[in-house]
């Protein structure tokens, strides 16, 4: 019963937070809503005994990704654009379609489903005993290939991000270590004979 209360409470918060993401005019508020949504999600995941992922979600998403989002929002000074915001002319259709998709999915899950119904939440499941260990073991044995591929994906992300955003500003003074090291005194210093003046 308690679990149910928790579930419905957090579920409501999650839904509200999600709506907040899409409805707030100010992107900063949206981002904060999203953070709220992530935290709520993490909590709900705890109910499902995915402790490691719940933590990861909060740490990685709230701690890194959302900070990145906010950082970008701040950097680009986006809220100046606020007066342009508002709903698109197709918003009613979109909302209708969103409702349709939701209705279709829910209807399918509840009315027609025979595979998903009747499954109740399992307490004390095996997964929760040492979730992190289990996950780690899986990851480095069975899923080693995926792990490697994910590594490449991250590498790709690095390269793409850098190549898109890195730029050498012209009027900024910067230190180039390589140039400093490779500096040759012979070329730097030129001995010149200066004739005495006032001759």
């Amino acid at each position: 019963m308690l679990l149910e209360v928790i579930f419905y409470a957090f579920a409501s918060v999650l839904i509200c937070a999600s709506l907040g993401v899409i409805l707030f005019k100010n992107p900063v508020y949206s981002a904060v809503s999203l953070i709220l949504a992530f935290i709520t999600t993490g909590l709900l995941w705890l109910l499902l005994e995915a402790e490691f992922l719940a933590i990861v979600l909060v740490l990685v998403y709230v701690g890194a990704v959302m900070v990145l989002f906010l950082f970008v929002i701040m950097m680009l000074n986006i809220h100046a654009e606020e007066e342009r915001s508002g709903f698109t002319n197709i918003a009613p259709i979109a909302i209708f379609l969103g409702l349709v998709v939701a209705a279709e999915l829910i209807a399918l899950y509840w009315i027609q489903s025979d595979q998903f119904s009747g499954l109740e939440s399992i307490s004390n499941s095996a997964l929760s005993v040492d979730n992190t260990l289990l996950l780690g073991t899986e990851l480095f044995t069975k899923y080693i290939l995926s792990f490697e591929i994910a590594g490449f994906i991250l590498l790709l992300a690095i390269i793409v991000s850098i190549s898109l955003t890195l730029r050498a500003r012209k009027n900024v003074k910067k230190q180039v270590a390589r140039d400093q090291i490779s500096a040759d005194p012979k070329q730097r210093l030129r001995m010149v004979d200066i004739k005495r003046g006032l001759d």
Binding site: F116, L145, S146, I149, A150, I153, L156, S163
Partner: protein
Amino acid sequence: MTFHIIGSILPEVTIAIAICVVILVNSLIRSVSAAFIHSMILFFLSVALFLSFVSLEIPNSNIFNGHYVIDSFGTNLKIIALIASILVHLASLKSKNNIKNEIFLIQLFATLGVLILCSAHNLLTVYLGLETLTLSMYGMVASNRNSIEATESAMKFFILGAIASAIFLYGLSIVYGVTGTLSLELIKESNLLDGLEMRIAVAFIACGVIFKFGAFPFHSWVPDSYQGSNTTAAIYISSVPKIGAFALISRLFLDSLNVMSEFWSILILSAGLLSIIIGNLIALMQINLRRMLAYSAIGHIGFVLLSFSIVNDGGISASMTYLLMYILMTISAFALIESISSEDHQHIELSDLKGLNNSHPLIAFMLLFCMFSMVGIPPFIGFYAKWIVLSELVNNGMLWFAIVGIIMSVIAAYYYLRVVWFMYFEKTDQPIENKGMMNTHSITSIFVSVMLLLIGLYPNPIIDYTRIIISSFLLID
């Protein structure tokens, strides 16, 4: 055992090594010439191609706990993908437009993604391969980062891609929920298929797959990204990723979810048919050459999907034949366009082609080949592609789809002919400057275009090849 595993994935490993080497060389050696990087990439691609040929000998096996499968189907697709990559690379060697080498690096990532997709045998691997490909495509499209068009199209592509990937994942999650496994092998053997839940899953997955192909109604990214990106990226995204998508659809739908073919074939069919209609109709109205080619690509992909929805070895191999021939044509078209475009003239409008016959007769002639091939006029390969698809459609009682397809291809002829019209029939005061020199790039483009004719005169190899691949794939699994 370990060696066996590594031996089986040597092509992928080669590409991975190539990536690392290129990164290192690029960042460590200060004044590395672009030509060196190009040759290196080409070298690695060729090695990977060679290794793929070698790994054809390897018996079918599941490796990495069944996450990865080595079979002739996958290997052959890899070979095709690698050949296409090499061609793309050669075709974009003009490189004045690509000052930075990153795009070639990103292309290597994409190729890696395609290779993974060819062999992936687990939903997770499939997803990761797909994302490798998709993310690198975003990077490619955006690589011309100082252009508004490029970044805008990349942004759109990114958003739509993210949505598509989420939809795809949603489908995968349901598959997982129903079957309790991520392994395609086990999914196939599961007896829970063709329930309602699986249908939802298939509907979601189909969206993702169709997005990857760039077919209607998930096509919107195609024209924008073709137009916005530079030609090097455009050549790539118009060709190699389609092989990945083909691998994806074959592995997921054809193989694992074969039981549900009756259901998904309808989805694929409707997307294909609508793509043919919508793509060709919109292409009629384009004046930007790249955008026109993009819509024409949507039309062509429509044929691929239409044929795929037949779901028997004839139909699938026809589909694959069409795909291969389409890739050849599109590489050729883009390469030719690239060879006449200069730095200050990236976006080729149709009117830029005026008087091409007088300034570049050979290029014009090859582009003529290419356009007639796309129309589907013999003896160019485009005709055999259309014909083989139509044959299969008629053979499977889908006469009306064949008729719709063929009528649309007649309509499509108009815009292809318009290219010829501008090249040959119009005169201009400001012809495109003829640099006169034959560089590697023009040689490649001409080579590909001549292939259009030669394969057209003797299309046997491709037809037989795809047939063998597909039959073996359908038989073994």
